[in-house]
Amino acid sequence: MTGTTGSVLSASGLRKEYGEGVALVRAVDDVSLEVAQGESVAIVGPSGCGKSTLLYLLGGLERPTAGTLELAHRRLEQMPEAGLARLRRRALGFVFQAFHLVDELTALENVELPALLAGASPRTARERATDLLEQVGLEDRAEHLPSALSGGQRQRVAIARALANGPAVVLADEPTGNLDSAATTEVLRLFEQLHADGQTLVVVTHDERIASTADRLITMRDGRFVDETKLTGGTQRTVAEIAGLDG
């Protein structure tokens, strides 16, 4: 089943199983998903429902037990590791819950890493990284090590890193999972901005606030999609109207 022409990411019947026999666990069970260019999709669900696993499958970091997956018009499920890596560096940006920044590199060096790994020249990579840090509002922290940054700032650096190679899709796994409320707002703003700039996003989260920046919200439970809600559209209301809602 090939995706519609506009879809950047297309999955059908994805399944991921661990263990066998009595101990068989279906982390992802028959999931199908279409993400159009510029669309922002949020996947919510309780912890352990398999949403992180799904994201890793979409990103080619895990191999599905069954099902097909197409990213940027390339089929992923049979691709060899090297091919997946190359595709990842071209078309994907990943944001992790634990940030996974390299501790001994500055923010700038962290952001330029994917470009360097893709073979860009040092100067190009450095320029791009500087631009991205500016885009996320951290240009004055470029020379700081991750240990000198707050949680929210670290995740913003991670987001900048995810954008380094101009990916078709950014996949985010619980991006605010390790953040406090204020930092969450920082990251929220950034995701809004990315979405407004036309970046295709797939965010996995159990925090509905992050999910609310998406166009579509999909609910996942026990490895399956159980519900889908469109979040955009509807009349715009004033603060007063919104605040007056509560009893």
Binding site: T53, L61, R89, A98, L105, E109, P114, L117, N165
Partner: protein, 593 residues
């Protein structure tokens, strides 16, 4: 009691969990203890057995021989008369008849020199028995070196000039050098048996032992009386020989000393390198030990209990390794200590006393305790959170290296950054690789020395040279095995340590091939350093241990070949664990953080 059980369980479970690592470590320690055991055993073969044998056999100060030409048969002992009455002579033994016969034993034909002796013990030069009984009619006593060479034991049957004789005993003497320093080999028979071996073509010769008033004047006596053309039977052209005990000792010692020198060199090398390599290996485990200390503390263990658990685990390994190593060493050592044949004091039985075992055990335990003490102390002092959060040394930042790496192709970028993030570990790796290369170079030097020795050896006959060569080869093999194990352990530990950064690199788009190449290259960098350092170090160490490098340094092509050889070996040894690691799912690694 409960605590003891808990400690035991924790230690065992942890060993089981890291099966591969524990097995590798065990193997390394076993090799080390074996090596140490052998080294110590060999080191003991240094005292001078000659003096002891001389005292025990009432060895002569001067030995004089007259060998008549074929056909000459009459009383040649008349030639001894002037010697017996020369100044400085305190006593004389013999003369004893000497028959030269063809000895056949176990299918081998060889020339032997048979001395006819009295059954009663002589006052000068009474060979000391190491097995069996003294001469009896029909029974021969074989000189020990000779017996060893022929593989003879008491009770075997030999043929002398075709006539059967039993091997009644085996003895040592300082009247002549041991076989094969002195040829033909010596056997002792009763006078009658010896006389009976004389033939027309090979008449009896005679040997006389002298004790001087001043044993130290033996050389002077020899010089002074050589002109005293004893055996004044010029018409018959009998051959005459005179040897002082110092000459004999020197000849003996020359061989023994060379062998002993080799043993000394090798044993020192083995001991030093074994200890160095195990220290490096243990040192590289410190980091993870600190983390485990933190984990144990976090679940409520007191610092004391933590230290005990760590200690128990390391001791378990150390004790097991010591036991195995000592056992293997015990079996291997006798093969090597069977030198000094022909001289008392170097029994063929393993020179392994309780003291040796204790020494090895002490080293093993010391290493185990040392490996525990540092992380335990550190763990007790730092807070639990710190111990859990950052490993013993968080990765350091080297801006210059980072900047440099950006200009390199991706595998080299990964390699340089991997080295830069843990400089200390890289240095440790380089150190252990240097040790490995040193071992290899030392082995090469030994091997080459041995070859040279065999070529230029004056006394060398196949047996001695062959045995020493055997020795050298075996020990070189041990060195190389130790080196290889060292290398495997180090590279494997590095691969484990760099799991997270390499997984991240793969998530960001590096292919498994690039990552494997990067990991391998990160090991080649210290490897290159190690190869360059190891060559001069290996030669220097050889010299330090007593060898003379100048007289037989391995040819330059050999030495130069060590560099690419090392690099290839490292590349192979790293590529395998690296490849295995690169296959592991990225998600798994990242999620476990």
């Amino acid at each position: 009691m409960g605590r003891l059980l808990l400690t035991w369980r924790l230690a065992i479970r942890d060993i089981k969990r890291r099966r591969v690592q524990s097995a590798l470590l065990l193997l390394m320690i076993v090799t080390t203890t074996t090596t140490l055991t052998i080294g110590l055993a060999l080191h003991k073969v240094t005292d001078s057995p000659f003096a002891r044998t001389r005292a025990a056999t009432r060895g002569p100060d001067i030995v004089a021989e007259i060998i008549p030409p074929p056909g000459g048969a009459h009383d040649a002992t008349r030639g001894f008369a002037p010697l017996v009455h020369a100044t400085g002579v305190a006593a004389a033994g013999g003369p004893y008849p000497l028959a030269f016969a063809s000895l056949t034993a176990r299918g081998i034909d060889v020339r032997a020199e048979a001395e006819g002796r009295d059954v009663a013990p002589a006052t000068i030069d009474q060979p000391a028995l190491t097995a069996g009984r003294w001469v009896r009619p029909g029974a021969a006593v074989i000189e020990r070196g000779f017996a060893d060479a022929l593989g003879l034991h008491v009770g075997d049957v030999i043929r002398l000039n075709g006539r059967p004789f039993g091997v009644g005993g085996i003895a040592v003497s300082t009247a002549q050098c041991f076989y094969p320093v002195s040829t033909p080999g010596v056997i002792w028979l009763t006078r009658r048996d010896a006389d009976a071996l004389a033939t027309a073509t090979q008449p009896l010769g005679y040997v006389l032992s002298l004790r001087l008033a001043d044993p130290n004047s033996a050389s002077a006596f020899e010089n002074g009386n050589a002109a005293y053309a004893f055996g004044n039977d010029t018409t018959n052209e009998a051959k005459t020989f005179m040897t002082s005990w110092q000459d004999t000792e020197n000849s003996d010692f020359k061989v023994v000393s060379v062998d002993q020198k080799v043993l000394l060199i090798v044993s020192t090398l083995l001991a030093l390198l074994a200890i160095a390599s195990i220290t490096v290996v243990v040192g590289s485990r410190m980091a993870e030990q600190t983390r485990r200390v933190g984990l144990l503390k976090a679940v409520g263990a007191t610092p004391a209990l933590v230290a005990v658990v760590l200690l128990a685990e390391n001791l378990l390994l150390a004790v097991a390794a010591t036991a195995v190593g000592v056992t293997i060493g015990r079996l291997v050592a006798p093969v090597l200590t069977n030198l000094g044949n022909g001289l008392l004091g170097t029994p063929p039985a393993p020179a392994l006393t309780g003291q040796s075992v204790l020494e090895v055990a002490v080293v093993a335990v010391a290493v185990a305790v040392g490996a525990t003490a540092v992380p335990a102390i550190r763990g007790a002092r730092t807070s639990t959170i710190r111990a859990l959060d950052d490993p013993a040394h968080p990765p350091r930042r080297r801006p210059s290296l980072i900047a440099l790496s950006t200009r390199l192709p991706v595998p080299m970028l990964i390699a340089v950054r991997l080295v830069a993030r843990r400089i200390r570990r890289s240095l440790l790796t380089a150190a252990s690789m240097t040790i490995a290369v040193t071992m290899v170079v030392a082995a090469l030097t030994l091997e080459h020395n041995d070859q040279v020795r065999r070529q230029v050896s004056v006394i060398g006959t196949t047996t001695v040279a062959g045995r020493v060569t055997h020795l050298v080869f075996l020990l070189s093999a041990i060195l190389i095995v130790l080196a290889a194990l060292n290398a495997i352990f180090t590279t494997w530990a590095t691969v484990i340590d760099s799991q997270r950064p390499t997984a991240l690199a793969r998530a960001l788009g590096a292919t498994p091939g690039q990552v494997t190449a990067g990991l391998t290259a990160s090991q080649l960098l210290p490897g290159l350093l190690a190869a360059c350092l190891g060559i001069p170090l290996g030669l220097a160490l050889y010299q330090l241990a007593g060898g003379h490098v100048s007289e037989a340094s391995p040819p330059v092509p050999w030495l130069v070949a060590v560099i690419p050889g090392t690099l290839i070996a490292i590349a192979v040894l790293t590529a395998i664990p690296a490849r295995i690691g690169a296959r592991r799912s990225v998600a798994e690694v990242l999620r476990s953080e």
